[in-house]
């Protein structure tokens, strides 16, 4: 049984339909990368998972349960974490408080998870008392990741995690994604930097016009001349 199974998803805002048949299946422990041109429905696919869109057709199953059309506040209950592309921290809360808010749904002792997050992102430990809004872009991204990890998610959804970051930070972020994935967390990620992202992906999904145009392993997509010609810039 797959962990995440999106089948034939049609969805949009109001009357305007954006997704016209997206299929996406991820097994437990995989990294799935969604790439494609602007307006292909990449981020929209992630957002469709938690009720920000009007789903007209198709279904989303997670961990054996039908979660089609759940609301965003129910995500954490299913142990799905979402890291938005922008505005993904609480700017006036300290780094530590951001992590605490990540664990808001937890009533148990989460101090070991907190220590774990500080181990993965050592710079955060030094800045734990500082307001998240005062940090650099790369460090804010670490706070956003850390916040998402606090529920010990089964699935983490990343919306263009490297957008606006310098190349040095970009490879750091991909390294973190691999590290997080090695702890057993399934990752579904939308990326603009398709080549680097597909290189770390178990599965790749190339979307165009709101539907899958290619679905294969990350490596096969990189080697596919047609995909390279149309989406990866040659």
């Amino acid at each position: 049984m797959s962990l995440l199974e999106i089948s034939d998803l049609h969805a949009g805002y109001g009357q305007m339909s954006i997704l016209k048949g997206v299929n996406l299946t991820l097994e437990q422990g995989e990294i799935g990368v969604i790439v494609g041109p602007n307006g292909a429905g990449k981020s929209t696919t992630l957002k469709a998972i938690f009720g920000m869109l009007n789903i007209t057709e198709g279904s989303i199953r997670f961990d054996g349960k039908d979660i089609t059309g759940i609301r965003s506040e129910q995500l954490a209950d299913h142990r799905i974490a979402f890291v938005p592309q922008e505005q993904n921290v609480f700017p006036t809360l300290s780094v530590h408080e951001n992590l605490e808010m990540g664990a808001y749904v937890r009533r148990d002792d989460f101090s070991s998870v907190m220590d774990h997050v500080y181990d993965i992102f050592p710079p955060l430990k030094d800045k734990r008392g500082q307001a998240a809004g005062e940090l650099s872009g790369g460090q804010r991204q670490m706070v956003a990741f850390g916040r998402a990890l606090m529920i010990e998610p089964k699935l983490i959804l990343l919306d263009e995690p490297t957008a606006g970051l310098s190349p040095m930070f970009m490879s750091q972020i991909f390294d973190r994604v691999i590290a997080i994935n090695r702890t057993g967390v399934t990752v579904a990620m939308v990326e603009q930097n398709a080549k680097q992202a597909l290189a770390i992906a178990h599965k790749g999904f190339v979307l165009a016009g709101g539907r899958n145009s290619y679905t294969d392993t990350g490596q096969n997509l990189l080697n596919n001349p047609e995909v390279a010609a149309s989406f990866l810039g040659g």
Partner: protein, 331 residues
């Protein structure tokens, strides 16, 4: 020295008192704006309503023949704060929540709150009439005359003023503790920071909204009660101070509780110092002055007192548009 005592009584004490009232009201307005994103115009009438609840409970206590070392109204205020908090939640569920759920824009909620204002004012007049009432039912208010060294006149502070200042200090410390130490308080700041992310994180927005109305309602009740204990209780009591409260909220940085406190005191002091007759303070030096001292030398005539908060507001918005504590930019 008598002149200095006059300054303390008419300038500093008055400023501190009205500033405290503004701060209590502005905390509620700013929290409601931070969480629910609309300017709650009915806040002034929630203050009056709270004061009336206190008055009813005080009358009941007095009728039972209870006497205490502190004014009965001050004791009755605490259950009245609880009742007002529930009324605030009730008003939200009846009038604002359906609009929010229908996806109404903030300006629609502002208009709805103006409607609630009119409704509350009508209800209060319907049941209580329009006359002024004294909150001290069982005994007259105590007045403390503190002798000032070198002066024949004493510094005058009344009992409700002492209670008010004590209450504000405790309330501010408690609020600070709540916002920085408690799980729900931090969640409130998180929702105020980024409501979308708060939802994704699994923060229960309903609980946060309730907490906002409980704090806003309870503090409004306290402000209304303590203000009417200082003067008298009239149906239009708090409506008249609503505009300075909004000025204090914006000056302090909208959505910022600490800014609201600072803004409240700033507006309060500016107001009293602007109408203060400075010629009294200068009188001892009249022989050394290069000009003839007029009898009255206030910066603003008392009748135009309401102008002062707006003047401060305009100055702050020109030079620091987000308010002293960097609130949300009004868009």
């Amino acid at each position: 020295m008598n002149e200095l005592v006059f300054f303390i009584n008419k300038g500093l004490v008055s400023g501190l008192i009205i500033g405290s009232i503004y701060a209590l009201g502005a905390i509620g307005v700013t929290l409601i704006f931070g969480i629910l994103r609309f300017a709650h115009f009915a806040h002034g009438d929630m203050m009056t309503l709270g004061a009336f609840v206190t008055l009813i409970l005080t009358a009941a206590l007095a009728a039972l023949g209870i006497t205490l070392p502190v004014p009965l109204a001050f004791i009755a205020m605490f259950p009245a704060m609880v009742i007002t908090a529930f009324i605030a939640i009730g008003l939200d569920r009846t009038f604002y929540k359906p609009l929010r759920q229908a996806g109404a824009r903030p300006v629609v909620l502002v208009m709805a709150s103006v409607g609630v204002t009119l409704m509350l004012q009508g209800l209060i007049r319907l049941f209580a009439g329009v006359r002024a009432r004294d909150m001290f039912i069982e005994a007259p208010k105590e007045i403390f005359r503190i002798p000032f060294p070198g002066a024949t006149r004493p510094v005058i502070v009344t009992e409700p003023q002492v209670l008010l200042i004590g209450f504000v200090v405790v309330a501010v410390i408690a609020l600070h503790w709540f916002l920085t130490r408690s799980r729900l308080g931090k969640a409130m700041r998180a929702v105020s920071d980024n409501p979308e992310l708060a939802r994704i994180t699994g923060i229960n927005t309903n609980h946060v909204v309730w907490a906002t109305w409980i704090i806003g309602g309870a503090l409004a009740c306290a402000a209304g009660t303590l203000l009417s204990m200082d003067v008298t209780l009239k149906p239009d009591l708090s409506f008249n101070i609503l505009l300075p409260i909004f000025a204090a909220t914006i000056v302090g940085g909208i959505g910022q509780p600490y800014g609201a406190i600072a803004g409240g005191f700033l507006v309060g002091f500016c107001e009293t110092l602007a109408v203060f007759n400075w010629s009294i303070l200068l009188r001892p030096f009249r022989d050394e002055l290069w000009f003839e001292l007029p009898n009255s030398m206030a910066l603003v005539p008392t009748q135009y007192k309401l102008m002062v908060p707006f003047l401060i507001l305009i100055i702050v918005l020109i030079f620091r548009p987000t308010g002293i504590f960097r609130g949300r930019v009004l868009a």
